[in-house]
């Protein structure tokens, strides 16, 4: 049973430390790749990526990996994928676009617990997401689909910087060890200490707080209703929806929208006791 709850500063106390190690298995079906990724000790997720192959240039071009933002899914990159494949200038450059769904988004599972594992969906962190993406890149490499370019949007940009930081801490990097030649950060969330107005001003907290829900199984999570979701992401400085905004029905039927763990809401918006951005 869901109930809307007020944010409490005590919520962060339940957050636990975890390791960065990963193990995984692979299963392939149609155009979806599912990787079993170890997020933390005894905690796994099935991370599902959708592979779209360029019909006019199926081999010989680069593979592009996309990483979605807060409250989004990999499905949101469908229009961009088609734009690439239809572009006279770039369609002969890209053979595959792989859109990852972060844990708990789209077809990807939330936390899967083995004996001794403890983690609710609402406690998934940006570090868990970074592990999911890094491991996805490794698995794609094993399938001859190593991405040379990563396109990351909004929170996905933060995921990529956290991933790079984690690799560097192990004397690795996206470029040298995983072969990623270019990372494109679209309207990305900035890591601290780089400025991030939405968080630093408190506006982000005000935006997210009304949409925090509680569930006995999932824990605390952020559920943005469709009209608000469209308003956040498709309106201009004057509050007008721009041409090309999907209808509410399209946003739902195309699977654009996802709930988000409360932990991510804290991380991005600096809600009380949430000043723990990387």
């Amino acid at each position: 049973m869901k109930s809307r709850k007020t944010i409490s500063t005590t919520i962060l106390l339940v957050l636990a430390c975890f390791s960065l190690s990963v193990t995984a298995n692979i299963a392939m079906a149609d155009q979806n790749l599912s990787f079993r990724v170890r997020l933390r000790p005894h905690v796994f997720a099935n991370v599902v990526s959708t592979v779209v192959t360029n019909p006019s240039f199926p081999t010989g071009g680069m593979t592009v990996l996309t990483v979605h933002g807060f409250g989004h899914t990999g499905s949101t990159f469908g229009n961009l994928t088609q734009a690439i494949f239809n572009s006279a200038q770039y369609r002969s450059s890209v053979s595959n676009v792989v859109s990852v769904n972060l844990p708990g988004h789209g077809l990807s599972s939330g936390p899967i617990l083995e004996d001794g594992g403890q983690l609710k969906y609402g406690e998934l962190s940006i570090e868990d997401y970074a592990i999911a993406v890094t491991e996805t890149i490794r698995r794609l490499d094993a399938l001859q689909l190593r991405p040379q370019v990563v396109i990351a949007h909004s929170m996905g940009g933060l995921v990529m910087t956290v991933a790079q930081q984690a690799l560097i801490s192990r004397q690795q990097s996206l470029g040298v060890d995983l072969g990623v030649q270019k990372v494109v950060l679209m309207n990305a969330v900035s890591p601290s200490p780089a400025p991030f107005f939405l968080a630093d001003s408190g506006v982000g907290a005000a935006l997210v707080a009304p949409f925090v829900l509680s569930d006995p199984v999932k824990g605390l999570y952020v559920h943005i209703p469709v009209p608000n979701w469209l308003g956040f992401f498709f309106t201009d400085h004057f509050g007008n929806f721009v041409p090309g905004t999907p209808s509410p029905q399209e946003a739902v039927s195309r699977g654009y929208i996802s709930d988000e763990p409360f932990r991510l809401g804290l991380r991005l918006s600096r809600l009380p006791a949430g000043n723990v951005r990387p």
């Binding site: 680069m62 949101t76 790079q164 990372v183 309207n187 400025p195 107005f197 992401f233 498709f234």
Partner: protein, 80 residues
Amino acid sequence: MSEGIFLPSLHTSVVVVSTEQDILTVPSELQALYTFLTEDEDLSGFRFISGADAVHDTYISNPNALLDAIFGTNHDGGAA
């Protein structure tokens, strides 16, 4: 987060894209992000997309507006 985690020596170039009408991020902070990550004060990998329809999710509503920013020549001279 450490500064310079995308220095050229690490072999991953970075492009940071900012859109004019985004209500969630602002160009100045994305410029700062680019410099923070790359230590490139010339902002050669920063791309500003102007336009009345350049919102946070332009990659959905008008993806063609982003293709040059994504795939165009980067500051290191590499097209990819």
